[in-house]
Every structure is written in C-alpha cells, then in structure tokens.
Symmetry: C2
Subunit: 597 residues, 2 copies
C-alpha cells in the first residue's frame, strides 16, 4: 500500500500503485487536465515535495512540458507519473487546481402561465364498511378517475389511508400518481430546474404553486476530473459500463447534495419535490440518464434520443420524491443539446417576427438562426481555445484570468477576474487582445506578427508579452505566440463559418440578422465591439445584441412550470433544421475564408 498526501487540500490516503492523476481524482482532489490523461496538454503539473517513494520514469511528454529546472525540483505531470511504492506528499500548484469559474447568477425566463404537469388534489375518501367492501384503490378512483398506481404506493396504501383517517392529498404527474400524502397538503409543492453544464451545474428550486424561485444552488460538475470537455468524457464513458456508471453516479450525487442544501434553505422535504427538469448538452444529458453517449462522438454524431424523456426519480437516483419524475427538454442533435432548446424557450426566437440569432460560445458553439417561420441550427467546432486550452497561457475565466485588454501606446492595460494578480488569459481577454493587436498594427489579418514593439520577444518562437513577470502571480511573463493567435483565429473562424452558412441556408446576408442573443456566462463578458472587429459576431448595431446570461436553467424552469412550453419545445425540435457543418459541401472554404480578421 502507498501512502499519499495531497496539498494544499491536506487529503491523505492509502492506495494501490497508480497514476497520480487518477489517485487524486478518486480522492476528490481533482487536478486540471485538458488532454484526457495522455500527456498532451501539460496542465496537470504537480510538485512532489516530500517522498520516500518510487515513481515511474520521466516520459517524453514530461520532458516536452516541463523545463529541466522543473524536473530537477520535483515537478511531474500527474497524468504521466505513476507512484509505485512508498509514501509521498504531492503539492498541486494553483495553476493545476480546478477552481470555481465566474458564474452569472442571472437566470432569464419569460413570464408564462402556470400549468405544470404536477398537480395535487385533496380528497376525503369514503371508508369501507360491511355494505361497501370495495377495495382501497377503487375508493381513490371514485375521486380521481382511472389512474396507474406505482407498486411502492399500492403496497403501503392500506395502512396509509387508515392512518390518514381517509383524508389525503394525491399528487399526480400528468395522469400518473407520484404520491399520496396524509391530510391536506395541496398548498405545498416544489419542482427543481437543473442545468448540467460541462463544468458547472445550476439548480433552482421552484414553488410550483406560485411559480416563484425559492432557492438557488450551484456546484462544479465533478465529471471534470474525468475530462475537461465532452469529447474526453465520451472517451472515458465509452471504455466500459463501469466508467459510464461512475460518471452518472458522480453527477447525480453532486446534484443530490445541492438538492439537500436547497431543501434546507427553503425548509422543505426532498419528497416535496415532485419533478426535476434537466437541461444540458447532449453528452451531459446522456451521461446524467446513464445513456451510452459513445456515438455522439462518432460520425454522424447521433444521440440515442431527441424528444424529451421522463423517468421516475428512483430510476435515475435523484433524491427528490422517489416516484417523482425526472424530465428533460428535447435535444436538437448530438452537439446541439437540451440547453440550446432551453435557450430558445427563454429568448422566444421560435415565436419572433425578427430574424434572430442565438449563440452560445464554447468548445462547441451552438448557433440557432431564424424566426417563427423557419429555424436553423448548427454546432461550430470552435474547440477549447475560448476556454483557455491550446493557448500557451490560456485559462478559464477564474480568479486571476486577464479578461479585458486595451493597448494604449504599447502599454497593455488589462483587468483580471477578481482583480488579483494575473495568472493567464481567458477567452474574453483573447478577443480583446487580438482585436487590439490588430488595431495597433502589431498583427496582420492572419495573425502574423508584423508590428515593431519591444513586447515581442526575440526568442525562436516569437511571443508578445501581455504581462511582465513582475506583474504576474507566478512571476513569469504572460505571453501570446503567433501560434496562439492563429489557434484563436481558427476557433473564431469556425464560429463565423457556422453563422455564415446558417445565414446562407436561410437565404439572407448576415447583416439582415435583426437580433443576436449571447447566451451563457461567457457571452456576458464579451466586448461586443471587439467581437465584431475580429469577426466573431456579425457586424450589426450594438443595441441589437443582447446578453441573456444563464438562460438554460431559466428554460428548464419554464418547462417545469408549463406543459405548454414543453409542447412548444417538442414542436420546435421537430421543425428546426439542423445543419451538420461537416456535411456541408463548402464548409471548408467558408471556414478558411472566416479565419482572418
């Protein structure tokens, strides 16, 4: 047995030999890793600070990502290094930790008429007598009409009715019985809206009688430890059933602990939550329900199911009323998920006269374009550059990330998340930086370094210094290379190609787009002028571009409150035209044209 301690978490455990990355995961001390544990990203750097242990040999990948000096001082890549015996203390440096992202707490939703599938009916049931010996269940049917009763409720029905003195409240989901409660509880009832993002999970607890949101909660998606992006999670989950089960269990457990907090905050019991409506991208959706996501990751990227699904909470393991329902909004395609559908619900573009565009920037950028008469959607393979991956000093929008940049007289003026010392640069920072570099003549349309400035280093690989070593948290300069800029322009190009092709298919020029909704917490921080300047967004007037924040959970809430909204969304999904970009003939030429600024 090996004894290992992770710092600064202070987590100590005994374990079998294995990769440090996996041991840390299993210990609940996740380490950053974008490359799926293959030594690709170099971001799972750890420091072995105190060890009487034997480790596996330093690999090629480690020599590539770690300097000679780092290797000497005990740095290793957690995904490459196996601890074989002995005991060790491992320090996870700040840049390798998974930290909370900035989170928009705005959840937009449209005003809607309350018409949830959950309804509660209070009733006094007639007692049996020697002259009316009909069974208990038929006495319920006298009041509620014909319905199906779960075995778990039927099993306890006889004692429950008598303990309640035949005064009960029945809870239905559509026509299906969820619960029978003693006495009159018809003035209480709750629902849960859940947005399962790849990295964050948002839960809102809703009073189904008033429609009010009574508590809000949030947690990291623990699946992050098994892969940063959906593709690496598909890879992990596809290996075997246990892996898939594991990913389901941890996300359900994470949501359950939020539920427990929300219930405490609101002073209600978990069994009073009768339905949870879940949204998320198609992979999050499949993994949450335990559905094999493998073929979402393989051409032609087909999900198992598209329509909204409804299963009993006990089947999914969600800790609400066990016979309550866990429902999903429908999906559009493998890479345009139920979150996009929720966004449509909130923005109402499926009912709009104006031609509107919804855009949710991420590793896959979901774009929906159209209006009430026609809707198109696609997923642009923008890659993880906007989330900091594949960019030398890229990082997510967490504390210390440079998120706003201006260049004035060769001076870089920037702001960081949390106003702390800079640690790297996030997606919104890159948008500003690239726009400013171009504006100041430092880079060409294609991202080539053409300017003359002392900020460009003389090394073999030329780098532009965004922040000098003395300004930064780690006392190392934060730079961007030509390669970084090009990587970023490629990502931008994919997105631009996406909306260009959608507009083409719709038969309009992009300037005809009358409204753009920027959704997701990422969108909220974007400098619109810069985004338009580099061609990330179509060039339409600023006031036509609206930030809508975390709409997905808002859409889930709308569905929770209204069967009408669900019906609308099922109809939208049926009529929406999904364009698989890789199947579009001229995609690659449009893409190539879309890369330059």
């Amino acid at each position: 047995m090996i004894e290992i301690t992770f710092e600064p978490a202070g987590r100590k455990l005994k374990t079998d030999p294995g990769h440090i990355l996996e041991i840390a995961r299993d210990a609940g001390v996740p380490i950053r890793s974008d490359g799926g544990g293959k030594g690709v990203c170099g971001k799972c750097k750890v420091e072995i600070v105190d060890a009487k242990a034997e480790f596996s040999k330093i690999t090629e990948a480690e020599r590539k990502h770690l300097s000679e000096e780092e290797l000497k001082s005990g740095y290793r890549l957690a995904c490459q290094t196996k601890i074989l015996s002995g005991r060790a203390k491992i320090l996870i440096p700040p840049e390798s930790r998974l930290e909370s992202r900035k989170i928009a707490d705005l959840a937009v939703e449209r005003e809607i008429k309350l018409n949830p599938p959950v309804r509660k009916v209070h009733a006094i049931i007639s007692e049996p007598s020697l002259h009316d010996i009909r069974p208990d269940f038929e006495r319920l049917e006298d009041v509620f009409g014909e319905f199906q009763i779960p075995l778990s409720i039927l099993s306890e029905l006889p004692s429950l009715l008598r303990e309640a003195n035949w005064d009960i409240t029945a809870v239905f989901w559509k026509d299906t019985l969820i619960s029978i409660e003693k006495g009159d509880t018809s003035n209480r009832g709750y629902g849960l809206a859940v947005d399962i993002g790849s990295s964050k999970i948002i839960c809102h607890l809703v009073d189904l009688l008033s429609g009010e949101t009574v508590a809000r909660g949030y947690t990291e998606n623990p699946q992050v430890a098994y892969g940063e992006d959906v593709v690496s999670r598909i890879t992990y989950a596809s290996k075997n059933k246990d892996h898939r089960k594991k990913l389901q269990e941890i996300v359900v457990t994470a949501i359950n602990s939020v539920i427990s907090n929300l219930c405490e905050e609101a002073g209600i019991g978990e069994e009073e939550i009768y339905e949870a409506v879940v949204v998320g991208n198609s992979v999050m959706h499949h993994l949450f329900f335990g559905i094999n996501p493998k073929f979402i990751g393989v051409l032609p990227f087909v999900p198992a199911v598209r329509r909204g699904i409804n299963y009993r909470a006990k089947e999914v393991g969600l800790k609400i009323n066990p016979e309550g329902f866990v429902s999903s909004l429908p999906l559009i395609a493998g890479f345009v998920g139920a979150d996009a559908v929720a966004n449509i619900a909130v923005t109402g573009i499926h009912k709009s006269q104006e031609i509107a565009m919804l855009i949710d920037i991420g590793t896959n950028t979901e774009i929906v374009l159209g209006n009430k008469s026609r809707l198109l959607a696609c997923s642009a393979p923008s890659g993880p550059a906007f989330e900091g991956a594949h960019i030398s000093h890229g990082m997510k929008a967490v504390s210390g990330a440079i998120e706003k940049v201006r260049i004035v007289d060769d001076e870089v003026i920037y702001e960081t998340v949390g106003n702390v010392k800079s640690k790297g640069i996030c997606g919104t920072g890159m948008i500003d930086l690239v726009a400013e570099l171009y504006r100041n003549g430092i880079i060409s349309k294609n991202g080539k370094f053409i300017g003359n400035t002392a900020r460009i280093s003389d090394e073999e690989i030329r780098k532009y210094i965004v922040a000098y070593a003395e300004e930064t948290e780690f006392e190392k300069p934060i730079t961007v290379s030509e390669k970084d800029v090009k990587e970023f322009l490629m990502a931008k190009g994919a997105i631009k190609a996406g909306w260009t092709i959608l507009a083409e298919k719709l038969g309009i020029t992009v300037e005809k787009i009358q409204r753009i909704f920027l959704v997701g917490s990422f969108g909220r921080e974007i400098n619109i002028k810069n985004a338009k300047a580099i061609g990330l967004l179509p060039n339409i007037p600023d006031e036509k571009i609206t930030f809508v924040g975390d709409t997905a959970v808002g859409g889930a809430k709308m569905a929770l409150k209204s069967l009408g909204v669900r019906k609308e969304m099922e109809d939208v999904v049926k009529r929406i035209e999904y364009i698989e970009l890789s199947a579009v003939k001229n995609f690659y030429s449009v893409f190539a044209r879309s890369i330059p600024i």
Copy 2:
C-alpha cells in the same frame, strides 16, 4: 453462539439464541405449525436427542400438548422452546415435518384464440448517415410507431443497434417495450402461468407462439413456515415491514427456482419469458406483490386492489425478462381471490346457460353461483378442519393420510395416500368417515356418539378408533372424538350455509343448480355420494358434478394467452355480486341449520 443440528435433515448451523421453530425456519428445515407459533396447535413437536445446552422452561402450552412421558423423553414444542446456550441435536419427527402434498397434475383450460399482449416484431432499422442524423430512438419509431422505452433499454440502445448491425427484434407488452434483441428472434417467446396456493405453487411455462405448455413445475410455498393459513400469515406480515418483505422475498425466490428449472428443461433463457400471469387467493396475491395484506384480515376484509395489476418483473423481483411484466388476474374480494377468477375463466360459468356452482374447499371455501346473466360469490369460513387442523389426528393429504373410508360390519376399511401405514386422517377421509359413522348409526345427525361398538373407547373423552395402534406408522391408534366430529360438521355447516345463502339470493332452491364444479386438488378426491350425504354438496345427480382439478393455473394460462380473457375477467369481477356472509342478516341461523347431517 449456539450450535444446533436438525435431524433427519442433517442441517447444522451456528445461531443466536431463539425459538427452535424460528431457527428451523431460517435454516430451511421448516417444522409443521398451524397456530402461528403460539402453542395452540401442538403440532410442532420435536425431540431433543442430544444436548449440552440450556433451554427455556416448559410452558403451560407444552404441558397441555405433551404427555408426561413425552416431556421426560425430551419432547418439546418448537414454538414454545427457546435454546439459550450450548449445542443440541434436534430430531423433527415425521408428523412434525412439512411434506409434499398430493398434487393433481391436471390443469384444465378452455381452448382459446391466441392473442397475448406480448408480441415480437422483427425489423431492419435504417442506419444514420451524415444526411440522416436522426437519433437512434426515432429510427425505431419509424418502424414501430410511437412507444415508451424503459431507461435500461434506452441506455444500451446505441451499442445494441450497432452490434446487431441494425437488424433487431422488438418485444412489446401491449404498447410498452420490453426488450430489443439482436437479429430475428420473432419465432421464440415464452410466458409463465403461476398459481400461488397457500401451501403449493404451480408454474407452467407456455410457448406464446404455439400456445403449448412446454414445461410444468411445482414447489411448496415456503411461507408455510410462517403460518399454515392465510390468517396467520397476515398476522406475521402485519407485524412490521421487514416481515412483509420477508414473506414476499421467500415466495419470489421459490418461484424463481422453479423458473430456473423450467428454463433448463425447455432449453430457453429466463429473459425469453416476457410475462408471468399470477393467480392466488387475495392474501397470496398481496404478499407476492409486497402489498400490505393487513386489512384483508380485519372487518370488512377489504383488499388494497381488485382489478388485475401489471408491474415490471424487476420491481417484483421475478427472474424473467427484467422489463417483462408480472400481471395478476383481478380479485373478487378479500377472501375470494384471483384463483377463483381463474376458475371462472376455465369453467366458463360466466358464459353458461345452466346455473352452475363453483366450489373450492379449503380454510376459506370460495363459492361462485350463477350463469351468464347473474353471478354471485361468497367465502364460507370453513376453517382448517378440511386440512386436518383442529382434528385430533387430522393431517393434510400427504403420505400416510387416511383418505378413503368404508365401515363394514364394524370394520373400518381405509386407504392411505401412498398406500403406506396410516399416520392420520385427511379431509376427504373425514367426509367418508362421518358419512359412514352416520350411515352405520354410530353417530347422530349432530355428531353425538350413539352407537354401540367396541371401537368407541371408554376414556373420559370418548373416541372412535379408526385404526388400531398396530396398523399405524407411529404405533398409536388413530381416533376421532365427538369434538372432532362436531368441529368437522361446523366446517361443513359453514360451506352449506354459503351455498344455501347464494341460492337464496339468486332466488332458486339448491336443487335447481344444474352443474357443480369441484375445483382444487382437494375436490378431486372427494367421494361425491358421501359429500352429498353429509350435506357438504347440494343433492343433485352425480353426473352433474364435475371435478376440474387445478384449474387456477389453467386460468392463468388462458389469461397469459389472451387479452380477451383478461377483459372478460375484468368484466366478470365488475358484475359479480359478492356476498359478505357475516353481513347477511340470517347467516347465523342458516349456519346453525346447516351443521347437522
């Protein structure tokens, strides 16, 4: 820890202190016990043959049921005696063992048109491509129309379809999906009919494509160890949820082991059984599904549910296809169960022109009377006398039971089950005996000993010697007392009162009954002339009385094969008039009149 060995089973185990009856139960060496462990019946006699152990003190009940001599030689009642420490060898004498009853292997069923709810559809599913990216589930809907898919199947659907190369067979129960199988399996499919009796369980495996019965199996109902009759099982199950769960588990486990044997015999997989149709009395029905039976045992004897119920096999724990269905026929009332409905299905009295009577003699004797225009039913509280309880030398119709009796010139000519030495007398033997005693002037109409014969002993409690000590297995005489005869006549009286009242309600005299169906294995052994002579059956011509054997499993098979039969039975249950005898004003006077021969 205590070490205990049960002989002749040779079962040795270590256990905590406890009652011998319970330890034996848990060890799978059940001991006969009719009184629910309360020292009432005195039939759980055991012999402590070798012990270095401490036992609880001899109770009042033991002094009542055991002779001084027996107590001296180490006999105790298993329900009364606790082993407190040490180790002991316990001999379970033959009369205290639970043994196989005689079983009629005839299962009558009517010829019906095959129309089971289970159907299999073979289909080639269209493969997705870049130009048809619809999800897997919708591809199934192309072929099968809209349907619900269980989460367990949806979860595995993507890999299954691709492994099957899109060539599959879907199995439906009505419109609900049970299974998706690789390739064309539409030429195979099975169902199971189960009759859960209080003491025996009969299972028939049916080929749903041909309608043929392909294997038959049988097992004891292990719940017997927790009470011989339904009332003591209700008592046990009502104590707490664990008890109820235990009774469900053991009966399901027993059926599962029969299923496993049937599958092996037929060379099929358990997952190829797509439905089980279960019948049984209302208590067996409730306990099998895990439904609280408590209030069936309490005035006004109301079951939880009457209509047929259908739940997934995995919910019940039955080892057929986990998403397959376990269905029940409907019940009529707390003491007229789904077995009676099955009997109606088989005999077809609900469609008959003739006025017919169905009678199933047992602790509760279910009687159905009527024809296609009107049907009445009742349960006569005949008590356990017909099953050997409350009769000094009474026993079930197992090996050694006297089952046929004639008295010729003061000589008792009898036959035993299995033609072995006699051990006691069973219900059919009692019918013959009482009829013959009356015929020979030995007893009066009221069961008083009036004859003059050497067979009547001179003890304080007068007894008629049926078999002398030297003729019997245990070398003790088999006798009946006046009290036994009266007990038996009371039981008969309850049954006669039942059909008398039903006939009265129907507005006919009992001679107008045109057909009697004697159902159950008990009925098959009855001497009709004697049964009529003592007034157990109405006095109609012999040829109008038909034995139909174990019809209940036959009725379950009919339901298994035909949705039409199920519909018919639901309709019958709705229109049948159940007469609760205890609510009938003149029941007690009719009962009193019905006791004498």
